[in-house]
């Protein structure tokens, strides 16, 4: 187990280096000059432009810029954005907001998704199962932006239950509505995955054995059936956590959440290599960590899986 974790952690190093390098060079390949764009429709002042270029080290060879950047990264220096603020400041501002939003959405989809899936799977073919299928189909077929604007209009503008947008991104209670919108699509997937898995495993030998042993129904479902059925769900949830962290840009836009998605979008738009790479470095770590946790959870859920 320990060796497995150590090996996985070591594997993260080349993946981390590779992705950050890829992003760094890809941002450089984006068309246009971010510094000249500071002047908008006007012709940039050549003296000022040269000075800024020098200040941002854009006049050095790309490989040198990359080495400097990576060197800084390992000493905890994420570089400076074009507006002169340290990238680390931007990350520490945006990341907690997105983590809160993602965890809220994640919790919402786990609790509701697995709950719906479990009951639907146990009552296969019954009314609850049928309506759960229709409900999740509806969620899957409505694009997130539509759902977002719909909820915003109904609950925020018409019913006035909540404020239509997030006034303070650090206040977790205001993030509930965006989190529900954000988690709704995955909720449908989780519910359907769980349902299918439960419905399949309920006929498995070990469940019949457990029932034959006279175990209480609670224990049969909780310990034996659900635990084994969760493996595909956990796989999905692992990748979904990463997606929630980095991919909430549309939802963040609708509800004015000042999180990672928005910061990343702006940085890409302005071709800010240091900012984009910094955020992506964090997201890569989140992804890798989520992947590792999923693999470890396999062993917890299914006694047949052991890591030597």
């Amino acid at each position: 187990m320990g060796r497995f974790v150590a090996r996985r952690l070591l594997q993260m190093i080349p993946v981390f280096l590779g992705t950050t390098a890829l992003i760094f060079f890809m941002v450089h390949l984006l068309p246009g000059d971010p510094l000249a764009a500071l002047w908008g429709d006007k012709a940039p002042d050549p003296v000022q432009l040269a000075a800024l270029r020098h200040q941002q080290h854009f006049d050095e060879p790309l490989i040198q810029q990359y080495l400097d950047y990576m060197g800084g990264l390992f000493t905890g220096d994420f570089g400076k954005a074009l507006d002169g603020r340290p990238v680390l400041d931007k990350i520490t501002e945006a990341l907690p907001v997105t983590v809160q939003l993602a965890l809220l959405a994640f919790g919402f989809e786990i609790v509701l998704g697995i709950g719906i899936g479990l009951f639907a799977g146990l009552r296969r073919g019954k009314v609850f199962d049928k309506s759960a299928l229709v409900f999740t189909l509806l969620l899957i077929s409505i694009p997130v932006p539509v759902l977002g604007f719909l909820f915003q209009t109904i609950f925020g503008i018409n019913l006035k239950w909540v404020k239509p947008t997030v006034q303070d991104s650090t206040d977790i209670t205001q993030l509930v509505l965006p989190a529900i919108v954000l988690g709704s699509l995955s909720l449908a997937y989780v519910a359907r995955l769980t349902r299918t898995s439960i419905a399949e495993n309920i006929k498995a030998d070990y469940v019949r054995t457990a029932v034959a042993k006279g175990l209480p129904r609670r224990r049969v479902i909780g310990t034996h059936l659900l635990r084994n059925s969760l493996i595909p769900v956990v796989t999905f949830l692992g990748t979904d956590l990463g997606a929630l962290m980095g991919g909430a840009i549309v939802t963040e836009g609708i509800f004015n959440v000042q999180g990672v998605g928005h910061a990343l979008y702006q940085a890409i738009n302005m071709k800010e290599g240091a900012t984009v790479s910094g955020f992506v470095a964090f997201l890569v770590i989140v992804y890798l960590a989520a992947g590792l946790i999923v693999d470890l959870l396999y062993a917890v859920l299914d006694p047949r899986i052991r890591y030597a």
């Binding site: 984006l30 068309p31 429709d41 836009g253």
Partner: protein
């Protein structure tokens, strides 16, 4: 000011659906007059400033709007008439349009209590012009004598003070220009010419985060990506005393989000309603909706520097193309009334605007259009590419313009999108285009010279066409040397009259401010810069 495309986010606009607009008229009566509370603040939709808040460093809307409230220069423009009016300056005299004697009013103070004196202006301008300070707006000082010494085109600066600026005493200074610019005082209303307090020069970076100005509002706090809070400055000496207690600039990632907040009165005044709401915002907001003219124009420019378009005959082709565009229909349908068809190269409402300067060439006439294009030898290759930036919401109208040209003249016209504003600008300025491109101009100051001199003069900074016409240049130079602003204005009108014959750019339409305000405020009026008359906004008691 250049069209700050970077500040506008269009992502959500692209994905938003008409669904939103159904059945969401938020009730709550209109903006009728009622009692107001001068101590209450109102909120305004903003975007995170992209630079530290230094006057000579803000040329984008996010930072620019905040700075113009924190600082006040020698002059500004009356929000209702767009005419120039004196603020810190008591008077600005000139006898030769080259040396300007400035007299300041006594009693103006910075927010830290120190007086606003002549040296605060001179020091601020010298500091802004210095390339070592990396100020985006430094070229604004280039008219002043000695600018070349402080800000040379190459090599080390010979001086850090412009020789044209002389402080006489606390309340008097003179500005000597390197050439005649009769309308120089109009330029002085731009935020780059704001004064700076003595403390600023010791810690420019710190003051960039916590600015101290002399404007109607003083800085309270800036929480990045959330809001910038200001409050009314009690010692403000300007003619426009605030009728409210301050402005809270709330940062929004999209205008859709801001609009949702406006409808539920969580936001008081917004910048521009999102494209998805254009069709319905007047129904949604009733008499709280705003539809006001803006000093900005949209054009299609041509690559005159390039072989196919350089011959004089091709002017006829450009005139023909202009006449093939049905501006009325496109502004009403595709642009949903958010623009007004242009009849000149200077935007409506600007001092010196001359309705119909473009003449028949801006009128829709397919028969004559066809004839003119034929007379001019046709469009090279019978195909026209219009380059634009895909991140600015331009696709719809470019396609409509192309359809109009194709249907009416048989010229094959296609939009040529570049991924974003940067990429389009890079292609335009490096002269890598072949044919036509989207271009535009937002006034820096409401005077026709700004729309003409900065864009169509030979070698002008924003002359992306490579247009060069001796007649135009002569008229512009003569206008610059005129004895009064009135003469300058008519001089530039003569210069504008030269443009139809060469047609370097096709004027399409003028921008409008389509905006609105919440039920909590009243007396919200927008000026030609697309800004509300900040100090006049009243917050209901």
């Amino acid at each position: 000011m250049p069209v700050a495309a970077r500040a506008r986010l269009v992502l959500a606009a692209a994905t938003s659906v008409v669904l939103v607009a159904t059945g969401c008229s938020s009730g709550g009566g209109g903006g009728g007059s009622g009692s107001s509370d001068a101590g209450k603040t109102f909120s305004y939709q903003s975007s995170e400033p992209q630079n530290p808040l230094q006057p000579a460093n803000a040329n984008e809307v996010g930072g620019g709007r905040i700075i113009q409230n924190l600082f006040k220069g020698l002059v500004d423009y009356d929000p209702s008439t767009a005419k120039i009016r004196m603020q810190v300056a008591d008077k600005i005299d000139t006898s030769d349009s080259q040396t300007f004697n400035v007299t300041l009013k006594d009693g103006w103070k910075f927010h830290d209590g120190t007086p606003v004196h002549a040296k605060n202006f001179v020091d601020a301008w010298n500091w802004g012009a210095n390339p070592a300070n990396n100020q985006i707006n430094s070229s604004w000082f280039s008219d002043i004598e000695g600018y070349q010494d402080v800000h040379p085109a190459g090599g080390k600066p010979a001086s850090d003070k412009m020789s044209g600026l002389t402080v006489t005493d606390d309340l008097h200074f003179t500005v000597k220009l390197s050439h005649k610019v009769s309308y120089f005082e109009y330029k002085l209303g731009y935020i780059a010419f704001s004064p700076l307090p003595d403390g600023f020069f010791k810690d420019p970076a710190g003051y960039g985060q916590k600015p101290v100005g002399n404007g109607p509002y003083q800085f309270v706090s800036w929480s990045h990506n959330t809001e910038v809070v200001t409050k009314t400055f009690p010692d403000y000496q300007g003619v426009d005393k605030p009728k409210n207690g301050g402005i809270v600039f709330k940062m929004y990632t999209t205008s859709e989000a801001a609009y949702a907040d406006l409808q539920s009165s969580n936001l008081d005044v917004m910048d521009q309603v999102p494209p998805s709401a254009l069709a319905n915002y007047k129904n949604d907001l009733g008499d709280r909706a705003i539809d006001a003219p803006q000093g900005a124009i949209q054009n299609i420019g041509f690559t005159l520097y390039q072989g196919d378009w350089s011959s004089p005959d091709k002017a006829k082709v450009r005139q023909g193309l202009s006449m093939a565009i049905d501006r009325d229909v496109i502004t009403k349908t595709v642009l949903q009334g958010s623009r007004k068809p242009a009849t000149a190269w200077v935007a409506e409402g600007v001092e010196g605007y001359k309705d119909g300067a473009c003449g028949d060439f801006c009128k829709f006439d397919p028969a004559r259009a066809k004839q003119l294009i034929q007379d001019g030898g046709g469009v090279p290759g019978n195909k026209l590419l219009i380059t634009y930036n895909a991140d600015g919401g331009h696709k719809e109208w470019v396609d409509a313009v192309c359809n109009s040209i194709r249907q009416n003249t048989g010229v094959d016209c296609l939009g040529d999108p570049k991924p974003d504003f940067k990429a389009a600008r890079a292609a335009i300025t490096s002269h890598q285009l072949n044919g036509a491109f989207r271009t535009g101009w937002v006034q820096d100051y409401p005077l026709n010279a700004n729309f003409l001199s900065d864009v169509y003069r030979t070698g002008a900074a924003s002359n992306d066409f490579g247009y060069s016409n001796a007649q135009f240049d002569d008229a512009a130079t003569k206008a610059d040397e005129a004895a009064s602003v009135a003469d300058t204005v008519s001089g530039y009108q003569q210069a504008e009259a030269v443009l139809p014959s060469g047609m370097p750019a096709i004027p399409l339409w003028y921008y409008r401010t389509n905006s609105g305000y919440s039920t909590k405020v009243q007396n919200v009026k927008f000026d030609s810069f697309g800004n509300p008359a900040w100090t006049q906004v009243e917050v209901k008691g």
